[in-house]
Symmetry: C2
Subunit: 377 residues, 2 copies
């Protein structure tokens, strides 16, 4: 018979954050719900799918300053879709009350909604995690690491380990790596860690994590358990299932030398490849031709199609090694790679037209990417 009052704005934000992960396509209607728990000192909202659980806490200020007040403690599960749609359309303070038979009454001004809830004891409990051993990281650093790696993971379930990002903790560092076997992105970050080990986190969970923590700078504690990893701030927790299996050995893939290395302007190169992709998209592999022909010039072009072709010349800021080069690359992979780089200049190492290229931001050795060339005919 729980009952509480809360600001419509704060409740709408929390409901929306939690309902992000809840799927409507579930065989059990209760799993399409949000679990609401009213305690003496906080409201808790929980939403989940088969991979991810999000827990959101709204602390109750004893002074009632944030407009939240619990009259009766208790818990209920309510359809995420309807709760989300209703709450965001209510004009003012919300008064939520559970009556008999899991019936939920939500009132705001002269607007009264009745929703049929579910018995909260039938909602799955949170995964068991021992919250003692943690690693602490700033949310903006963690989000940068994820954004710079997760795009390179695979969308294809045929090799499940590749659909995740590998988090590898050593004494003083975290290394994140993702690959779909044609491209790879790797990012190192210094931190104090008392955890050792590798964990493959599903890319879907990391995309939700960026949404959940993207709008506020906070500290995030990372905890691990046998099958789960938890990312936790004061008010938000994201539990993710881990992907089982062994992540491929990355370090052996990174070339230690190059036959040609060029330095280019990152934004200009990105724009050039984006333009060349206009025609390349007619082809299966978004093929872009990349040629070093004259010293200090690079030509970017799409293979000519029925409709037309495009080519452009860009200045090379620096070149070492062989000054003749001709390679065909997947334009989409190149665009993703360059978008992940914040630095003004990028250095690209080549080992002929058949070997993967190595892309590194100039002045930042913590991040590197590999892209395999396309075998053109």
């Amino acid at each position: 018979m729980m009952e509480f009052k809360i600001s419509n704005v704060e409740f709408a934000k929390a409901v929306s954050e939690v309902s992000n992960v809840v799927s409507n396509k579930t065989t059990q209607p209760i799993l399409a719900g949000i679990k609401l728990i009213a305690k003496a000192d906080c409201l808790i909202l929980i939403g989940s799918n088969s991979d991810i659980v999000i827990e959101r806490k709204i602390p109750i200020d004893s002074e009632g300053l944030n407009g939240c007040k619990v009259y009766k403690t208790g818990s209920i599960v309510i359809s995420a879709k309807y709760l989300n749609e209703i709450i965001k359309k209510l004009p003012n303070e919300i008064h939520l009350k559970v009556t008999e038979n899991q019936s939920v009454i939500i009132q705001s001004e002269d607007i009264i909604t009745k929703l049929n809830g579910f018995n909260s004891t039938e909602y799955p409990s949170l995964p068991y995690v021992n919250f003692s051993n943690n690693i602490r990281i700033a949310s903006d650093a963690l989000i940068d690491i994820i954004k710079q790696t997760v795009f390179a993971s695979s969308q294809n379930e045929s090799r499940p380990v590749l659909t995740g990002v590998n988090f590898s903790f050593e004494k003083n560092s975290l290394t994140c790596a993702a690959t779909n076997s044609q491209r790879l992105s790797l990012k190192r970050h210094k931190l104090n860690s008392n955890i050792n080990g590798s964990f493959i986190v599903p890319n879907t969970a990391l995309i939700e994590l960026v949404k959940l923590f993207g709008d506020c700078a906070t500290e995030i504690d990372i905890f691990t358990a046998d099958n789960h990893i938890v990312f936790k701030s004061n008010t938000k927790s994201l539990y993710s299932r881990l992907i089982e299996g062994n992540y491929p050995n990355i370090s052996g893939l990174i070339p230690q030398q190059s036959s040609t290395t060029v330095t280019l302007d990152t934004k200009r190169l990105l724009k050039g490849i984006d333009r060349a992709s206009i025609f390349a998209s007619e082809w299966r592999n978004n093929n872009i031709k990349f040629q070093v022909s004259e010293k200090s010039k690079v030509k970017i072009s799409s293979l000519s199609s029925e409709m037309g072709q495009i080519e452009e010349i860009q200045d090379i800021k620096n070149i070492s090694g062989d000054e003749e080069l001709n390679i065909t690359l997947d334009g989409k992979f190149m665009i993703d790679a360059l978008k992940a780089i914040k630095e003004d200049e990028v250095s690209i190492c080549f080992n002929g037209s058949m070997s993967p290229i190595l892309i590194m931001p100039v002045g930042n050795p913590s991040h590197l990417q590999l892209i395999s060339p396309v075998r053109s005919n």
Copy 2:
């Protein structure tokens, strides 16, 4: 062998405006193109589909102030999709040249694009219109009239005349009307007209007209021909096919009396119906119940569903006639109707639960709407 230079920004805007109406789903590739004509004093761009032609003129300033210069006059047709994508990605002044075999070379800085064009003589010519008899109207007034009527037209081709808006010109007025036979919107506008007659303009053309003239305040001249209507400013023209047939007689449908008339706050009513529609959308007709029960109060509710229900009470500002009323309405039609009203208060006239309701903004007799009730069980 035409050749010209133009500012990339201005050209991109014009190409985008014209390509809006060009469809890629055409059996003749030339019809998916934009016709470019370079004259001594202007550039002309033309794009079309089976209902609509848009003609866009870029005047050439003899001082070269707008960066446009024609070196050789001529004309060509270029794929709208590729031209649009390329031009918006070019960084600087554009140099366009047609060489042998309709080959088009577009250069900007060190970026060179080659496109295969089409012989412009094979592109359909503009519909014949006698540009003498015109009606002049301000673009913002015309756009308001269209926005307040076009939504009520039919999406269903089974009665083609209902897929258009009926423009009826009399000596001193234009009356626009649209109906899908369940709802109707009518707007009168005063103007000096030397045309008499009715023209049914396809709703698709009017939606394009709003896009084309929506961003600039200008004078629009309207011309009519046997099968076409033209909306024309200094630099833009939209030619639309007319729908053949007789438009239904509207004036007989408008009730001259009412059993109950209520005045409500427009925005608040809109929000209330939007909220009630959360559950109503589970039903075929978005059914919303509207009840006057106590004097000066109205209850808006959705029919209860498996998931829940919502109801709210709103104050009536004014009521006359019978104070008992119970009617079921299509929530989506009500939302569209109220969104078309700018005035703060709206007056609704009822004639029992089986007759259409009449919606009028308070203080503006030039606009009225009808909505038929849903037969609830």
